[in-house]
């Protein structure tokens, strides 16, 4: 939680940090400021002190909503800095940063650098700044080890409620997509048709999904996946808009909306087959569902998340599939890790990969996905089931948005000839 930041800084012997960038779509900045339309901003926080928020004057109303201590950039005379820098933009930026650090009382010590922002501009400015403030040591951290991903790992109730709200929107949209698809007319060759009699495309469905998410005030800042057949067999193929939609094909629908402006995410996947399913597809789906259910019954409070990745790999191997446990970088079978934390980042701590440490655990307050899957692009099939779970303070794992697990969706206007 945010209140852990000081302790995390202390544990790393970090005296201060600076976060660069916009307040939107920039998780550490959104976390500290609450978001809003503030661009090219910065926050400097000294350990044990209140953060200082630097922003452009035109965005003073938005910045004020943060409740942080504010310093508008107009405090620093940009024209004078440019002259002093002989019109060298990087040096002028470094000179302003020097004044900002001095105003924050930070002129020495280890200073963490964070934010999703322009790498070149910050790399260049910090190099110049280093000569102006030689007593500061700027420190980078691997993403999964950063104090922000650690603080964000456990959510308070307000954060969980925001994720839950995104979950409600998610399942509303998923239900609308299901209703829409199953109500379509079907051509003799089993292709779905639009009202005007022309074939429905993956792109048509994707447009509707975007619209139904927007109607609910949410966004899709990391896209989404609605992929059919072979594309469903490539985990992160987002789907080919020109493809037609046929009965009996696997459809992987993975949707991860976020609050507008880069807020909290939800993450959810269902796999469908319209009208009927090939026996092999049904069998593979059943395997995914079986391990999904086994996992759900097995999650233990405080257990290392990777244990469940091992369990999932072992299960799929027992069914004859490849996994990361028996193959290096498999391209079919079970090819990814089981899940990940969800919050202001679509992927955050705790992670479940075989290479992560035992400190990635199902602690109270974490919000994680469980998403086993099987992928056979050569067979034109893919399968994944995913829900987002909250590890409650009482130790129970709660799915934040319930939704049925039907694989074959009956079509309202089509019946199997032999059925």
């Amino acid at each position: 939680m945010k209140s852990d930041l000081d302790a995390l800084m202390q544990a790393r012997n970090m005296d201060a940090f600076i976060v660069f960038g916009n307040a939107e779509n920039n998780p550490p900045m959104t976390y500290l400021t609450g978001g809003g339309h503030v661009s090219h901003a910065a926050v400097i926080k000294k350990r044990g002190e209140e953060p200082l928020y630097f922003f452009g004057d035109m965005e003073r109303d938005e910045a004020a909503k943060s409740g942080l201590k504010l310093i508008p950039y107009s405090k620093y005379d940009l024209e004078a800095l440019f002259k002093k820098a002989n019109r060298d933009n990087l040096l002028a930026a470094a000179l302003r940063l020097e004044l900002m650090f001095r105003d924050a009382g930070v002129t020495s010590g280890r200073v963490g650098v964070y934010g999703f922002y322009d790498l070149g501009a910050i790399f260049g400015a910090l190099s110049r700044l280093q000569t102006l403030l030689p007593e500061i040591e700027f420190v980078g951290e691997a993403r999964e080890d950063s104090i922000f991903l650690h603080a964000m790992e456990t959510k308070d109730e307000a954060e969980v409620n925001r994720i839950r709200r995104m979950g409600e929107i998610t399942v509303e949209v998923v239900e609308k997509v299901k209703d829409f698809l199953t109500a379509c007319e079907v051509r003799n060759d089993e292709v779905l048709l639009k009202d005007d009699g022309s074939p429905l495309t993956v792109g048509d469905v994707q447009a509707k999904i975007r619209l139904w998410v927007a109607e609910r005030g949410a966004e899709l800042p990391s896209g989404f996946i609605f992929a059919v057949g072979r594309d469903a067999g490539v985990p992160h193929s987002s789907g080919n808009p020109a493809d037609l939609i046929r009965l009996g094909q696997t459809i992987v629908f993975d949707i991860y909306p976020a609050e507008a402006g880069g807020g909290y995410y939800y993450d959810f996947t269902r796999t469908w087959s319209l009208g009927y399913a090939a026996p092999e597809a049904q069998e593979l789906y059943n395997q995914v569902k079986e391990i999904y259910d086994t996992l759900k019954d097995s999650f233990d409070l405080n257990a290392p998340f990777r244990n469940y990745q091992v369990m999932t790999c072992e299960y799929f191997e027992s069914k004859g599939h490849k996994s990361q446990l028996n193959s290096k970088a498999p391209l079919d079978g079970y090819v990814h890790s089981l899940g990940h934390g969800v919050g202001l980042n679509i992927h955050e701590r705790p992670f479940s990969g075989l290479l992560v440490g035992e400190d990635h655990r199902l602690k109270p307050g974490v919000v994680v996905t469980s998403e086993p899957g099987l992928y056979y692009p050569e067979k034109g099939m893919g399968f994944r089931i995913e829900d987002t779970y909250w590890v409650r303070p009482d130790g129970k794992m709660e799915i934040l948005a319930e939704y049925p697990y039907d694989f074959v969706l009956p079509m309202k206007k089509w019946k199997p000839a032999h059925g």
Copy 2:
């Protein structure tokens, strides 16, 4: 244009560059790869050679759409790298980067660093990498000087057509907002009402704007501004969702949609007053419109963009307002610069601020905004008119989406008592 990158590298004595991050919402990466759902990727380009695209296997379909030379991360044995790094995540990342640079044939020289990505992770990894590849000098550039902002500054026809398409969507949405507002019932106290008789809020209108943009397949990755009264007087206040909408207030509607997934932007503003306008508001609007029109008639091919900022400041000063020419960081009057380039970044070269160099010019192929405005938050008013112009190869400035400049919008169901 993209084909300028090699010459720009040469001019800066840059031997190679690396771009980090996702292919979406990351302009340099989108520029090189064409976008798509590819995350945590990298592109390394040696001067005079084809770029090499590094990506995760699950996103191989999306990466392949780039047409670039591809190397999946699975080529590098992550488990072995972790062991070699003693499970130090930053060192493991640096060891993989070392292999990637070696595969790209880059082991010495000046290497530019680009991309919107996790500053801390890259800062940390490059610090480690520096000891592994000591002959490389990593180079940062100020944003406005970067080779990417220089290359992107001039657009080819395909890029202009994509911006134009966003312009068409923009004015369609603006027209829908105008039709919606002017069709509202009006209460005795001049507050606009919804169909159910309750007051219309700024938040209601903002929700409709989001929806109408999404319906057209575009996104609002940098938000938008629909601000009324006092908020209209603060240039980047996005508007208070709880505010009611009254006749005779200034409404600043600044909308900058982009292609889904972080593509090309359009940028557009109109200022409206519903039903009637106070005489002072009409007078200030007329001034903004007058200088807007004067500018339009004055733009000269290849002229420094900042000349028009000077012209605008001088005009507003002659009318008794503050500007950046006669005041440091004014909070009312004409408080910002005239315009900016528009492309994959909502703000890019050329810039028009008083501090930018004469190399920011209205060259053929640039796409820029012209957006004079006046701001009086204490009086509860703000005004801005903005269009996006393309400097055509024949030297003519073309507005990419025409839209009327009416200030007072007559209400369909309300007439002024004395009118």
